[in-house]
Structures are given as C-alpha cells and as structure tokens.
C-alpha cells in the first residue's frame, strides 16, 4: 500500500495538489510545463467515480483500488501534460490500469481476483459514498432508482437469473442446475436482463 493509505484520496482537492505541482515545476528536467492544478483537479472530479468502478472491476478490493487511484493521480500530476487534451481521460484510465496490474502482481492476487465476482467483494455504493461528491451521490441514487424500477419490470424468469447470479452469487452452471434449465438458457436470460437494465439506465441518463 502506498504511503498515506487508501483514505488519503477522500479529502483530496486542488489545494492538496498545488504544492506538489509547484515542486514538480521547480524540478522538471524536461522543461515542459506540467498540468496546472485546476486541470488535474477537474480531471479527477470528472472521472474519479468511473475510474474507481473500472479499477474495482479489475482489482475487486477497495483498498487496492484506492492505491491504484492515488498512483494514477501522481502520474497525472507528473506526466499528465504529455497526454493530449482529447485523450486525457483515456490516458488516465490506461495509467490507472497499469498501476492496478502492478498491484495485483505485487500482491499475487491475480488468480483469486479473477474467480471473484465484483459485487461479491463489497458494495460499491456503500464504499464509495464516503468519497464521492454530493452531485455524484445524487446521480447514483437516481441511477439506483432507475435500476430498481427496471428490475421490477423484468419478467419473472429473468429476475430469477439476476437474483441468483448477483444476489446469491451462484455461477451460471449452478443457476442452470437450480432452475433445471440448459446453461445456454441461463446465459441468455442473464444477457437479456442486462440489456434491458442497461437500456433503462441509459434512458434515465441525460
């Protein structure tokens, strides 16, 4: 774990980044101007939530996610100026992804991580609620409401597969055995349910 622990990101803001950026400017050998603090702060605020969810999908551990985000933010401060403006988000995600893989290698958790479902590790909503802004929290609540409504409108057989896969964390093979349906049917039902839920969520978003 990086110095400062996972909670060091919770109160991170432009004021925290500025001294670091000043030091980097003073010691930059390449001569290129680094990203201004406001730009780094904006980058973080715009993409932190999505980046956190992406990293949780890769790492499935909230503390490791925080470590990866902190390392990516440091890289953004140090090297963010090398990315083009239009691809700065992709650059941030790519850097964070490499940091995540480095953490997985270091902690040798790769195989175990890949056998664990992301929602089984912890509830992202509860974990991230401490770090997201009020606007993010409100947006997440609205999304959750939309998903709840969409889930209630699903046919019973699709709801059954969703519940068994996500709430009871059964594998598709176990679901097929439980419901006495072919594995392909279980997969198709889950896929159909996901498509419907995603459509409902997309319709909800502006």
């Amino acid at each position: 774990m990086l110095p400062g622990g996972p909670d060091c990101l919770s109160g991170l803001g432009a004021a925290d980044l500025e001294p670091k950026l000043d030091e980097d400017r003073a010691g930059d050998d390449s001569g290129e101007p680094k990203l201004p603090p406001g730009t780094v702060q904006q980058l973080y605020e715009e993409h932190a939530g999505e980046l956190r969810r992406f990293l949780l999908g890769v790492l499935r551990d909230s503390e490791a996610v925080a470590d990866a985000m902190q390392a990516a933010l440091v890289k953004a401060i140090e090297q963010g100026h090398t990315a083009r403006d239009e691809s700065r988000k992709a650059w941030l995600f790519r850097v964070a992804y490499h940091e995540a893989l480095a953490i997985r290698r270091r902690e040798a958790t790769g195989a175990r991580v890949l056998e664990t479902s992301v929602w089984h590790v912890e509830r992202l909503g509860q974990e991230s609620a401490l770090r997201e802004s009020a606007a993010e929290s409100a947006a997440r609540r609205e999304e959750a409401e939309a998903v709840r409504d969409a889930l209630a409108r699903l046919p019973a057989e699709l709801q059954a597969v969703v519940r068994l896969r996500i709430h009871e964390n059964l594998t598709f093979a176990e679901i097929a055995a439980r419901l006495e349906i072919p594995l392909g049917t279980a997969l198709t039902r889950m896929r159909t349910a996901l498509a419907k839920l995603k459509t409902a969520l997309g319709e909800h978003r502006p």
Partner: protein
C-alpha cells in the same frame, strides 16, 4: 465458456469478467483488450456500476420461477421423511412395549378389562369341580386336603356356634352351650363340636 461471436459483445464480456466467469485464458484476452481499448474500460466500469446497483436493490419476495424440484429441496424432503419415519417407528416400539407390560398377548380386540373378566370366568368355571367333595360309601366327604387346608375362610364360615345348633335342634344342646351375653364371654366352637353337632342333628 467459449468466446463465441455473441460473447464478443463488450458488455457481456465485461459482465462475465466482472462476475469471475471467464477462465484464465479468456480473462487474459479481455485484460489485453483493457490495455488498449478505452471503450472496453468504460464498459467494464458501466457493468460494475450496474451490477452494484442491482446488488443494492433488496429483493423482498423471490420472484423465482421455481423448478419442479431442486437438489436442496430434495434433501429437505428426504430429511423430513426420515424424521417422520423415525417418529413412526418410535411410536410403534413404545406401543408394543406398553402392551407387553400389560400381560400376555391377547387376541386382537381384547382389552385389559376383558382379560380380567376372562380370567375370573375361567376360575369360576373350574371351581365347582374342585369344591364338590367326593363321597364314599360312608357318606363322609373327602375333599381335597390341599384345598380344605388352604381355604381357611371356608372353615371360618363353617364355625357355627353351638347355641345356634341348639336353637335349631331344640333342647338337645344344653344351656351351658349358650353364650353368656352378660359377661360377653363366648365359647369358641371347635371343629369336633361342630362335627358332633351336625352328626347329632
């Protein structure tokens, strides 16, 4: 799980990756895609968000279309059946022991009260043949010694006071045989006196 053409759908692939349903090779393939494709990264983030939303939704009543029977339900049914069979066997065993404690086995439909009645009936049925004394030529009864000795109550019943015989036989019995009711004394008759009185009568 093989990666068919349909499974190349990024959303589905991302979901299977997040669900831990991909094997090592498939996961490595998807992670290689994550290293180069921002779209794949964003799809993974979206799938994680969606699945977390779903996981946060409390499903109060399961709307599952239940199969005819599931493995767990079969075990539960077997457990209940076993318990019921054990209780039934225990009840039968207890019932049999209770009947054995009550006495010998009786014909079906015979209760304990009936058994006592049958026993009493059998004794009373056998009693006359033992009670009837055999008479020889002298006219004296020679009842079975064991039965006369054992049946002391019958002897006592036969201890009739002399004064009673005297009353029945008139003055043949002397006044001395009358009990002195004034002083409460009472002569206890002997069997010889009884026999003698009977012979005299």
């Amino acid at each position: 799980m093989n990666l068919s053409r349909d499974e190349l759908d990024l959303d589905w692939l991302a979901f299977c990756y997040a669900a831990g349903e991909l094997d090592a090779t498939q996961a490595a393939t998807f992670e290689a895609l994550l290293a180069t494709s921002q779209e794949a990264r964003e799809r993974l983030a979206a799938v994680v968000a969606l699945s977390q939303h779903v996981a946060d939704v409390p499903l109060a009543a399961p709307t599952v279309v239940q199969p005819a029977r599931s493995g767990r339900h079969v075990y539960e049914r077997l457990a209940w059946l076993s318990l019921g069979a054990a209780l039934l066997l225990a009840a039968i065993w207890v019932g049999r022991n209770f009947v054995n404690d009550q006495g010998p086995a009786l014909p079906a439909g015979t209760g304990s009260g009936d058994a006592e009645l049958a026993s009493a009936w059998a004794e009373s049925f056998d009693a006359p043949s033992e009670a009837i004394p055999e008479e020889d030529a002298s006219g004296e009864s020679h009842a079975d010694a064991s039965s006369s000795a054992a049946d002391t109550s019958t002897e006592e019943l036969l201890n009739v006071p002399d004064w009673m015989f005297a009353a029945l036989g008139g003055d043949e019995v002397g006044d001395e045989a009358m009990p002195d009711e004034t002083n409460g004394d009472r002569d206890e008759p002997t069997s010889d006196s009884v026999d003698g009185a009977m012979q005299e009568g």
